[in-house]
C-alpha cells in the first residue's frame, strides 16, 4: 500500500480512538463537568473526520458551532445548575443495564445490516475528485445554498431567530 494510504488509516484510527473514547467518557464519567469536556473531545474527533472526508468547510463549521458555541453553552449550563454534584450519588438511573443491552443490540444489528448491503460506491475516477475538496473555492456551496436549497436556508434562518428569542425569554429571571 502506498504511504498515503497507510497514513490515512493511522489517522483514521487515532481519530476513532478520540471520538469513541470521548463518547464513552461522556457516559461513564461521574463528574458532569468532565462529561462535558469529553464531549468536546468527541466533537474535535469529528472535526478530524470531516477533514479526512475532504469536507473542509464543514470541518471548520463544526469547530465553530459545536466546540465554539454548543459546548460552551453546555459548560455554562453545567456550571449554573450544580445539581448532582455529589460524587457518591450514581449518575445513572435504575434501567442502565437494560439500556446498555438495548444499545449494544442496536449496534450489532446495525453492523450486520450495514455489512450485508452492497453500497453503490462510485467509481475510482469519480472518487478522486470530490466537489468540495480542500483546495476548491467555496463558492459552489454558496451558490447551492442560495439556489437549489434556498427554502431550507430561509426556514433555518427563521428557526434560528425564533430560537434566539425563545432562549432569551426562557432564561430571563422573572421580576418578582
Amino acid at each position: 500500500m502506498p504511504v498515503y494510504q497507510i497514513v490515512h488509516v493511522i489517522v483514521f484510527l487515532i481519530l476513532t480512538v478520540m471520538t469513541l473514547g470521548g463518547a464513552l467518557g461522556v457516559v461513564v464519567s461521574r463528574n458532569l463537568f468532565h462529561s462535558a469536556l469529553f464531549l468536546v473531545l468527541s466533537f474535535a474527533g469529528v472535526v478530524g473526520y470531516y477533514v479526512l472526508l475532504d469536507a473542509g468547510f464543514l470541518a471548520v463549521v463544526q469547530l465553530l458551532i459545536y466546540i465554539g458555541a454548543i459546548a460552551i453553552l453546555i459548560l455554562f449550563a453545567v456550571m449554573l445548575t450544580r445539581g448532582l454534584m455529589d460524587k457518591r450519588q450514581s449518575q445513572t438511573n435504575q434501567q442502565w443495564l437494560i439500556a446498555g443491552l438495548a444499545a449494544l443490540l442496536t449496534f450489532i444489528v446495525l453492523a450486520v445490516v450495514l455489512w450485508q448491503v452492497d453500497w453503490p460506491v462510485a467509481s475510482e475516477q469519480v472518487l478522486a475528485s470530490p466537489s468540495m475538496a480542500i483546495g476548491a473555492k467555496g463558492s459552489q456551496l454558496g451558490q447551492d445554498l442560495l439556489g437549489t436549497y434556498v427554502i431550507p436556508f430561509e426556514v433555518a434562518s427563521v428557526l434560528l431567530f425564533v430560537a434566539l428569542i425563545g432562549a432569551v425569554i426562557l432564561a430571563r429571571e422573572t421580576e418578582s
Binding site: A23, Q95, L159
Partner: protein
C-alpha cells in the same frame, strides 16, 4: 481509500453510545449531551455517504450543515429550559421532575 463500511460502523457506534447516554442518565444535561452525540453520528454518516456515493453533488454537505444549525438551535432552547426549571424546582434530575404524572 478507507472502505465505506468503516465509516458507517464508527457512526453506528457513536449513535449507540449516544443512545445509551439518553436512556440511562439522570441529569437532563447529560441526556442532552447524548442527543448531541447522536446528531454528530448522523452527520458523519451523511458526509461519508456523500463522499463515497455522490461526490459530485453537494447534497450531503448541505444536509449536514442544516443538521448542525438545528442542533445548535435545539441545544440553546433546551438549555434555557433547563436553567429555568432549575430556578423553579432546584433540581434537574429527571427522576424527580414528575409534576405531570397521571
Amino acid at each position: 481509500m478507507i472502505p465505506l463500511y468503516w465509516w458507517l460502523i464508527v457512526a453506528a457506534a457513536l449513535f449507540c453510545i449516544g443512545l445509551y447516554a439518553v436512556l440511562s442518565r439522570k441529569n437532563a444535561i447529560a441526556i442532552l449531551m447524548g442527543v448531541e452525540l447522536m446528531l454528530n453520528a448522523v452527520n458523519v454518516n451523511l458526509v461519508a455517504f456523500w463522499r463515497y456515493i455522490t461526490p459530485q453533488a453537494l447534497t450531503g454537505q448541505v444536509f449536514a450543515m442544516f443538521v448542525i444549525t438545528i442542533a445548535a438551535a435545539e441545544a440553546a432552547v433546551g438549555l434555557a429550559i433547563f436553567i429555568s426549571v432549575y430556578r423553579k424546582h432546584g433540581t434537574i434530575d429527571v427522576e424527580k421532575l414528575d409534576i405531570m404524572r397521571w
